[in-house]
């Protein structure tokens, strides 16, 4: 274990990481965002979902540093007296959860499809890649609208509200898998013909076993890069859907929902209701994207 950590700090990756201040900063920012979101129930100053604690008297309080601000509400309150900071932390939690789960789903789908296509070849390859092709030309937003619509049609409204968050995860996750499939397929086709795989085949290992324990570890690098970049896209896709009003239900507001609500206060003088969720979303996505960008360059020796 210690050796592994030591190896990591000695590695090129770590070296390139410490050499790029932008990357270090974005890593710290991303870490703070994620920690704040994950630990929201523990560290958030208020619970924005506890209706009994909301007082209309506290509505529209400006941020703490402005003249009428109150120290209890660091980033001010919204139209119902909800603490903005807490709402943003809980919102980021929903956004990250959706983004993360969607990417995990894309990875699972995409990697399986890619492995199968690349290793098995033939008809399996042709069919899978054809589906991926068609899928790639349809934009995420439309796929998500469609899937959301089907479930709305299929489920009673109350049930739909309860499962809406999973629907959004599925919709985004399902529309992003082809980029993983493509990459994994390419790498698999290369690995398949290497000697160690042929050796494994000779000693009689099953095809599934070979794919998972021999080919898979060798294609994970690019998958990690795409996954990081896709996380940013997934969070944005969720925000856009919520902005259009078809994303997560308002009882579980994400950053996108907060921005949609805040949008009404664009000209009203209560700028903090609009601005802070927007800044939170941009900072979160930007830091994740910067990390992904760096990771891609770091793992691609050709660019060094």
């Amino acid at each position: 274990m210690v050796a592994a950590v030591q190896r990591f700090f000695d590695s090129d990756i770590w070296w390139s990481f410490t050499r790029s201040p932008v990357t270090v900063i974005s890593a710290i920012v991303a870490f703070v965002c994620i920690a704040g979101a994950v630990l929201a129930p523990v560290i958030a100053p208020h619970n924005p979902f506890d209706l009994a604690s909301l007082q209309l008297l506290d509505a529209f309080k400006p941020p703490a540093w402005s003249e009428e601000g109150e120290p209890t509400y660091l980033l001010g309150t919204d139209d119902q007296g909800r603490d903005m900071l807490s709402a943003i932390m809980y919102g980021a939690r929903v956004s990250l959860l959706v983004g993360f789960c969607a990417v995990v789903m894309s990875v699972l789908l995409g990697v399986s499809a890619g492995l199968a296509a690349g290793y098995l070849g033939g008809t399996v390859d042709a069919v899978l890649m054809r589906i991926a092709d068609i899928k790639l030309t349809f934009p995420t937003i439309l796929i998500a609208l469609l899937i959301d619509g089907i479930t709305r049609a299929a489920l009673p409204r109350d049930v739909h509200d309860q499962v809406a968050i999973y629907v959004v995860i599925f919709a985004i996750g399902f529309s992003n898998w082809p980029s993983f499939a493509r990459t994994v397929r390419g790498s698999t086709m290369v690995e398949r013909n290497k000697e160690y795989v042929q050796a494994a085949r000779v000693i009689g290992l099953s095809r599934g076993r070979i794919m998972v324990s021999h080919v898979l570890p060798n294609v994970l690098g690019p998958v990690l890069v795409i996954a990081t970049l896709q996380l940013g896209f997934a969070i944005l896709a969720e925000a856009t859907l919520s902005f259009l009003g078809v994303g997560v239900p308002p009882t579980q507001p994400s950053l996108g929902t907060l921005i949609r609500i805040g949008n009404d206060f664009l000209f009203s003088g209560e700028w903090w209701i609009t601005i802070f969720p927007g800044i939170a979303l941009i900072v979160l996505v930007l830091s994740v994207n910067l990390l992904g960008d760096w990771l891609r360059d770091a793992l691609n020796p050709k660019l060094r």
Partner: protein, 327 residues
């Protein structure tokens, strides 16, 4: 060649049918057009009569069968909300969306390609870093936020550009264009920037990556060795080679632009197909929503087909393998 086209069209059919089923099923139970159409005062008998008139009392698959048969003839029925033939509505709105998408795509290409070339050639210059950072910010900003910020800056604060609508349009035949009036062009600027920004950053990064790739190839090294000027190497050899994938991707992205126009059109109240779609969702106007989705699907299938045919024309290997795989 003929067999290839036929097989591709046959593959497209189930896609279209699936979209038809989805677009029909999607909205069959969302909202209640009956309640919306009846307004504030009505009797139960009036309500039942309306349900019968709309055919909403028939079994699901009977309704769906009718829908597909009619759709195949371009007959999507009457909009619940506007009481006009759906096809007319969509045809009326199409120019607005197409002009917006075209302008956005042109902007993305005209700005994105030079930026990509520059960042590819001068990887470490400060301007390249600025461009790259800019592109990352562009990718990280949601479309709707960009639109809102642009309106705030250029319409409300500076008062330079209109915040909504198409401005003045001129009718040429059945096509209403905003390109011919100053007001129309001004109205295009903010929405097309909003819509094109994401594609711009995408193209810039693509061109950069392709340039880096090409510049490392042997034949560029040979070209340099032959003593050609940098200019000739960069633009005569390198750029030319990067353009093929760029144009392909842009073509494929055209569909995405049209679909993403939903968001831009909502923010700018741009009277195109996307706004029509969102307004129809709000009013549970099933015929319009279904027709729009079918149309977009048809558009994607067509774009896909054209790209396939282009590949077929370009890549001789495909001709041997028939329609298989192809990468």
């Amino acid at each position: 060649m003929f067999a290839f086209i036929v097989s591709r069209i046959l593959q497209a059919l189930p896609v279209m049918l699936a979209v038809a089923l989805i677009s029909f099923a999607m909205f069959a139970y969302v909202g209640d057009p009956v309640a919306i159409m009846l307004g504030q005062d009505f009797t139960e008998a009036q309500r039942q009569a309306l349900i019968r008139d709309l055919g909403l009392d028939q079994p699901f698959f009977v309704q769906f069968g009718k829908f597909v048969l009619n759709a195949a003839q371009g007959e999507f029925g009457l909009s619940y909300r506007l009481s006009r033939p759906v096809l007319d509505l969509i045809i009326e709105r199409a120019p607005a969306t197409l002009e917006l998408a075209l302008t956005a795509a042109a902007l993305a290409l005209l700005i994105g390609v030079p930026m990509g070339v520059y960042t590819g050639l001068y990887r470490n210059s400060w301007l390249s870093r600025v461009f790259l950072t800019f592109s990352l910010v562009g990718v990280s900003l949601p479309t709707f936020l960009i639109g809102i910020l642009l309106i705030l800056t250029f319409s409300v604060w500076l008062g330079w550009l209109p915040s909504f609508g198409r401005g003045e349009t001129v009718k040429i035949g059945g096509w209403s264009t905003g390109y011919l009036t100053w007001g129309g062009i001004k109205a295009l600027i903010l929405p097309s920037i909003t819509l094109g920004l994401f594609q711009l950053t995408l193209i810039m990064r693509l061109v950069r990556a392709e340039m880096l790739e090409v510049l490392r190839t042997d034949y560029i090294k040979f070209a340099r060795a032959r003593g050609l000027t940098n200019r000739a190497v960069h633009f005569g050899h390198a750029l030319k080679n990067t353009l093929v994938p760029v144009i392909t991707i842009t073509g494929l992205q055209l569909g995405a632009i049209i679909a993403f126009a939903i968001v831009t059109e909502t923010v700018f109240q741009w009277p195109g197909m996307g706004l029509l779609f969102i307004q129809s969702v709000g009013a549970a106007d099933i015929p319009v929503m279904a027709a729009y989705l079918m149309l977009i699907a048809a558009l994607f299938v067509t774009i896909n087909l054209i790209v396939d045919l282009l590949y077929y024309a370009v890549d001789p290997r495909l001709r041997i393998g028939g329609g298989k795989g192809g990468h």
